[in-house]
Symmetry: C2
DNA sequence: TTCATTAATGTAAACGGTTACATTTGTGAA
DNA sequence: TTCACAAATGTAACCGTTTACATTAATGAA
């Protein structure tokens, strides 16, 4: 159906080589010849077939992108960063998501590999032990991790999750909290959550605070609600400060706490992780440890692309994180059932329409 | 480097045809032969090259996706819907974004076409007059619009934006508002915003309300802030009810209003459009007209895929929208400088850390 | 056992580009 | 004008599959 380079060659009365050279600008072609070729291309509406080209050159000018979830803004941000960088250098993106499932990681990487992407940018559940990464290494397809914890011989761009977790503990301490807790997604599906936890624990220990209680739960639905219910059964011992392993989780947690008539931050302070944009518009606005997601995506893409054009790359890039204060984290107060700020808040909410 | 079908054939002592048939399961291959082929594949770590296959079959099993912005959750949701559907049917996604710019629409579609995607799912600035769509039609590459207003001969999945806009006017009327206004992104880059405006105007007219004031502004930065400042110069005439053409815009608007000491919803009510998930967690929670983004993406993908396997498709799918009440839209009050709820609110905010 | 039929396998030509190498054309010096 | 050399262009093999068509092997009836 579509015109091929041979059609163009015939119409312009030149060889396919000349057309190819004209299209790609790889060699000079004489003015008059160029003119004829240009006309033929226009008349035939010729569009070079990237499939043919890829087969011939054995590179596709495309990058695979693998993220756990498309709906989580933290990953969209990274993808936005990747997109800019890739577009600039003429690369296309093949996007896939895994739902945090290592099996899916494998299957999408398999697809990417079959499609012969030139490189892959990805976030995996556990880089220490990842079949997907093994496939990539085995196929000698360059890749770059984003968000994951650095591992030997594995290019990664991330933040210092341990230090960041530690700093969260310090923030709570400054606000006078002593009963700390953490709500996290499954550690098996998020090595960074694990690192943040370790940092948090370490921070608490350094500050001579009692060891925080750690709760692992799935992000959505009953599991999380049950966990919180259990945790806040006994208000006299429950944590007054909760570190959530990511912002989306923090938002859910705040919602569930409110449902149980526990007010944030009057009774319980919450700090999230990621720094998704919208967080600052919430009520209460979300205190969080911000990582530069877009920059991380861009940096990873830039490194990978450099590698693809023969350059050298850094193995690990640790970008700076920064704490963003918010209303969800306040001074430690009393955690008692009859707390009054709580009442006033809960009557004010849900008043409309 | 990587093993080819010929390497496998040689090692298994069969012809390439047999290997191909075994890999694709298109013909029976005798048990013993199959065994040999399977072994050879495993030993050589053979992975069929999709590029070669595509060249041969002239389809790529890939879909192009074109959205205005990756960071806007409304589009991510649609992409999530598309991803599920595509993955199920073994299709890969090539994702691109346009920044609402028709020039970029053209250039990304060009790239997609060169890559010979089997079909394209996209949201354009103006489907009535789109070079990108013309290219697609010209190349006879099937496509399906998402979010855009339906146009002759152009498959689209969307909501009834006019009706929805009208209903927003009605919601404001129910709350007792009479001075209505709309803040919208550029109509030239969003046909749906235009439709929503038209519906809004129509709704107001039906209700015998004064014609709403319409403000067109860029989403971010100074432009929007200036617009709002001008609009709220004279509080005695300024609108008490503001319809924003999308949720992200509504969030910005609420922020800027607050900056000017105008409280939402006590002085001004705001209703958004899209129904992004996070909206319900804001303060004030965002009243909005919800469209089923994920379903829209999934439906478009399903239709397009059906079309690709020879089936017939519906030209236009109008999915149901629904109003989600929220705290940002309340009963009409007085719009005066000395309004007290405003003061109390503004001192309460930004109190932490 | 032989032969007609069917099942399994093989051969080789596409698919649409790129590019090493060969050939032709153009240029300026002698 | 002739010739050496450079610039422009052409020829054809190759990239890794699929698949129409040809061939060979297996099967079962006579």
């Amino acid at each position: 159906m579509a015109a091929t380079i041979r059609d163009v060659a015939r119409k312009a009365n030149v060889s396919v080589a000349t057309v190819s050279r004209f299209v790609n600008g790889t060699h000079k072609v004489r003015g008059e010849t160029a003119e004829r070729v240009k006309e033929a291309i226009a008349e035939l509406d010729f569009r070079p077939n990237a499939v043919g080209r890829s087969l011939s050159t054995s590179h596709t000018k495309s990058l695979g992108v693998v993220i756990p979830s498309i709906s989580n803004p933290v990953f969209s941000e990274a993808v936005a960063g990747i997109t800019n960088e890739a577009k600039q250098q003429g690369y296309s993106l093949m996007l896939t998501s895994t739902n945090y499932d290592p099996e899916e990681e494998q299957s999408v990487v398999e697809t990417l590999l079959e499609n012969r992407v030139d490189g892959v940018l990805l976030t995996v559940a556990d880089p220490e032990n990842s079949a997907a990464l093994d496939m990539l290494r085995n196929a000698r397809t360059p890749f770059f991790l984003i968000y994951n914890q650095p591992v030997e011989q594995t290019p990664t761009v991330t933040v210092d999750n341990v230090l960041a977790g530690q700093e969260v503990a310090e923030q709570f301490a400054v606000l006078g909290h002593t009963r700390l807790g953490m709500i996290s997604g499954r550690f098996t599906t998020s090595d960074r959550a694990l690192a943040r936890k370790n940092g948090f624990l370490k921070g608490a220990a350094n500050l001579k605070l009692p060891a925080p209680v750690i709760c692992e739960a799935d992000h959505e639905g009953r599991a999380l609600e049950q966990t919180l219910k259990a945790l806040y059964q006994d208000l006299s011992t429950a944590p007054t400060a909760l570190f959530c392993s990511n912002d989306l989780l923090a938002i859910s947690v705040i919602g569930y706490l409110r449902k149980q008539d526990i007010s944030v931050p009057q009774q319980v302070s919450v700090i999230g992780f990621d720094g998704i944009d919208v967080g600052s518009h919430f009520y209460p606005s979300l205190a969080t440890m911000v990582q530069p997601s877009q920059e991380m995506g861009a940096a990873a893409a830039k490194q990978l692309l450099a590698r693809l054009s023969g350059g050298d790359i850094k193995e690990a890039l640790i970008l700076p994180h920064v704490f963003r204060p918010g209303e969800s984290a306040g001074p430690a107060g009393k955690l008692t059932p009859a707390s009054s700020p709580n009442l006033s808040q809960n009557t004010r909410r849900r008043s409309t329409t």
